[in-house]
Symmetry: D2
Subunit: 297 residues, 4 copies
């Protein structure tokens, strides 16, 4: 009945790193939020306070900034792999590394019809994410996006559901459907053209959300996930988490005003929450690919 | 030495109203956060609890939803004027109304190269605002935008400043400049093509931010404001509030890595904060145009 | 029709300063968020970019940290006065200074029944604030608190209100009343025992909220304000802003369950918003006492 | 290479339920944020949109509100068990239920030295949590707290750590240590005096944080967890997640001011993040006890 130390990891969360490429007059920008976590024989740090195996989280942060220069940030997936490989390969006691990255998008300012060389506006609300794990079993990349806010004003139904004594919801064959999608996809390979794949995945998900006559948010998620997996053979698992951001018809009939699906109250809470994993039946093992640290990616 | 009731107002803040126009297959969406506040002879509600002059905030909310249908939301400025005129004109004790509106932007989903009829993605982070005041002295519209996040990677200096015993900041002739602009502009008229003006103002501000070789954020703000006022004669006052979102060079030299303005730490706090009002010397009086309620617009 | 520069100010917002007093084994803690803003002849910074009158915001931050040691933080009001006097008195071009401070409360950890010497827990959600202004017209202190979340489960009514075509709210003589109070009070003097006054003001406001059989939130605010002003002669103005955080009866009758004011849905938005100023009829002029910078205090 | 539906669940997140007990003049309040999620044979909702097995999330919300009255909320753990048992036992296709609850604390207003019967102030920032799982394998309760913000101004060291080329952090034998603790503990039984256990666990954690001369946050976490497990035999697993909220000495020496651990800059990001699981070596299987839905509890 002894108490033992189980899973543990430590690192530096949320280093805000902005990388400017300024080789010529036309600069490039990458805007990241980087979390690193290390795994290995750190028991003595817990049991006796002995830090001799512990690389400080401050050092991890320094490394993340240094690699943004020395390795560059062509894609967050590749940059994350470089960092993870360094910690596992170059720092002796470390046996596993987890790198979680958020990337914030910018678009070039347009001035007098032309894209500006060194000025940008923050673009959109959705965030590209990458979660990289490297350990003795291999290298794992989970790509993702979050806070992709989508809304369709028709083409969504909810009917034929189970009813019990607490059910008061009317059936509907035309409602607003809105969500803030959180999607993650696991690759079976690290030999991927990351910057090519990401926008195509996003476009496929938007397409399915838009074009499916939806009988439930569950069905929409399934279509989103399968569209991605059919297009990309090396994506072997997709995890989707989608709040049902309710838009309720506001009852204007009380004041003699008709409301045929035109005026809605966008509610904050409570919200539906639908979660699903799609998986190839021959997917290789995920091992620690889904073991989170800060959980922002 | 009596205690008296001074300025007071009351209303309903943050009604989340989504308006879908569905006259044909191609829908339109307007997504609003509406605050209403009423002014008038409400002393007895405070002094004795007598509510006979008090139109409930719930009624104000109902009205805002009803007008979204009956009057429509062609622009938030016009919709706000309709609401304010109603409260002052149709509700007997009310002598003044303040309507503050945030509008969240959406862009059409693009599916197989075409804009979709009834599906949208939330667009950008900046919010269009309108603050409308109607009272016995007239009608006032303050347009605005907020959370417009801009960054330039060169073309910004900060030097020649005042120094005292607590000054340690080095001078620089090349730094990152970034802000999340909050801008408000007062019109001298309510006969304005609101939806034409808004994007042009935003474009002018972006242009000035991008193209001025900036000696200080103060100078950039002045150029933004004058560009707008020179273009639009009926804009008589511009108020600007701009955090200086610091991007500090991360010292990579400690690890033998050069960093010539390429890797930055984006700090959260503290931040500089620059505020300025630009005004025509013959501007008509603002009266209560700048008297806020919830202050979100 | 020239464009002129009107009101302007600049400074450093949200310096997070923690001050530990460690004269003996029993430490003390003050946890602040400090904003400074300077006013004066800064036109050329805007018009031409000339910074020769501009003390950097970084210097202002350094000064705030230095004063936390050299002057100490006995109270945020006194510390704010010290900072403001320094900027106006010691920095030549500066003619006015505005200091806004939030203070976060901590309580000592209790270990085996005793208060611990150097360990604390963050206490409560309400924040003590001070806004200090010093300029050629004098010295002004506005004390305050915000985010004081209060709820009473009975003793609140709302009836006898004005009705129009959009009114559907039923009258009630027993409802939940809840708010997150934002209160600010202006002193006519700077010779005040700041740390004695603050908790007494808070206690008076809580007492009035609790004990008044409230006919409206307006009435409750009036009672809160007058109780404070009657107790403290040198408080000459009180400004109150109170959201009506709605707690709606959840309709359980649909499932055959009675709900006599026992189960509520706590809504996020929309919320009522009640604002009032109470003032002595012989109050000295406020001048710039209420001219905000970051507006957090 | 077929695509299959893996883990999935759906429910209603964040129902904000306030329960007032008003049997006599002295009321009681419980303030909850309730998430429910159901597991079972819901494949057809995804694959074909067939909802015949799907109890609407709206119904789940209704049930949560109804149970707050009919079952009461003596403790969130017991209330969660009632809800979970109902969904699994009474709703035919449901095979598993997950209930996640946050509870917000209130303290009675003190008026003229006495606790008030029906008025409260929100208390503290820490949140009590419960995550209940009921399925064919049994019943599981995970208690918890989060956002418990603790700070000690001495009694914390960090030295003797591993160094590499990117290490610049100096060693220290006296620093501020601060965190916002997130702790969860798994019970091996559901026959527990929940409201007795919770404050005792919190007190033990605070005691260990305060009294241990800490060589690392890791060591502090280990002491917190073992103190709890040694006191409560039916707690078989503790999971701890603790940001290291850095408080950096502000360099006042540049202005000739000494700073012997008295003035600190409280940084927002980046922060250290330490995570650990403590476990009895004979703990019964957790099964789905740690499978989250909204993840707020």
């Amino acid at each position: 009945m002894a108490i033992i130390l189980g899973d543990n990891q430590y690192g530096k969360a949320e280093s805000r790193i902005v990388r400017i490429v300024r080789d010529g007059p036309r600069h490039e920008i990458r805007d990241l939020n980087v979390t690193t976590a290390l795994r290995g024989p750190f028991e003595q740090a817990y049991l006796t306070g002995d830090q001799s195996n512990v690389l400080p989280t401050d050092t991890q942060k320094n490394t993340a900034y240094a690699f943004a220069k020395s390795k560059g940030v062509d894609s967050i997936e590749e940059y994350g792999l470089e960092l993870a490989r360094h910690f596992v390969g170059d720092v002796d006691p470390v046996t596993g590394a987890r790198i979680e990255i958020e990337e914030f998008a910018w678009e070039r300012a347009v001035v007098d019809g032309s894209e500006h060389d060194h000025t940008w506006l923050r673009k959109g609300q959705d965030v590209r994410t990458a979660a990289v794990t490297v350990d003795a079993t291999g290298e794992y990349v989970v790509g993702g996006l979050k806070d992709l806010v989508l809304l369709k004003s028709t083409g969504s139904e909810f009917a034929g559901f189970l009813k019990d004594d607490f059910t008061t919801l009317p059936e509907t064959h035309d409602r607003v459907m809105a969500t803030a999608l959180d999607a993650k996809w696991r690759f079976s390979s690290v030999d991927v053209d990351w910057n090519d794949v990401y926008p195509r995945i996003k476009a496929l998900m938007v397409r399915e959300f838009a074009t499916l006559q939806s009988l439930a948010l569950q069905q929409t998620l399934w279509h989103m996930g399968t569209a991605v997996m059919e297009e990309f053979p090396d994506i072997v698992e997709v995890r989707l988490k989608a709040p049902n951001k309710h838009h309720f018809d506001f009852d204007l009939g009380r004041f003699g005003v008709e409301n045929a699906g035109e005026v809605f109250w966008a509610a904050d809470r409570a919200y539906g929450l639908i979660e699903a994993t799609l998986l190839r039946d021959d997917a290789p093992p995920a091992n620690d690919a889904w073991r989170f640290s800060a959980g922002l990616a």
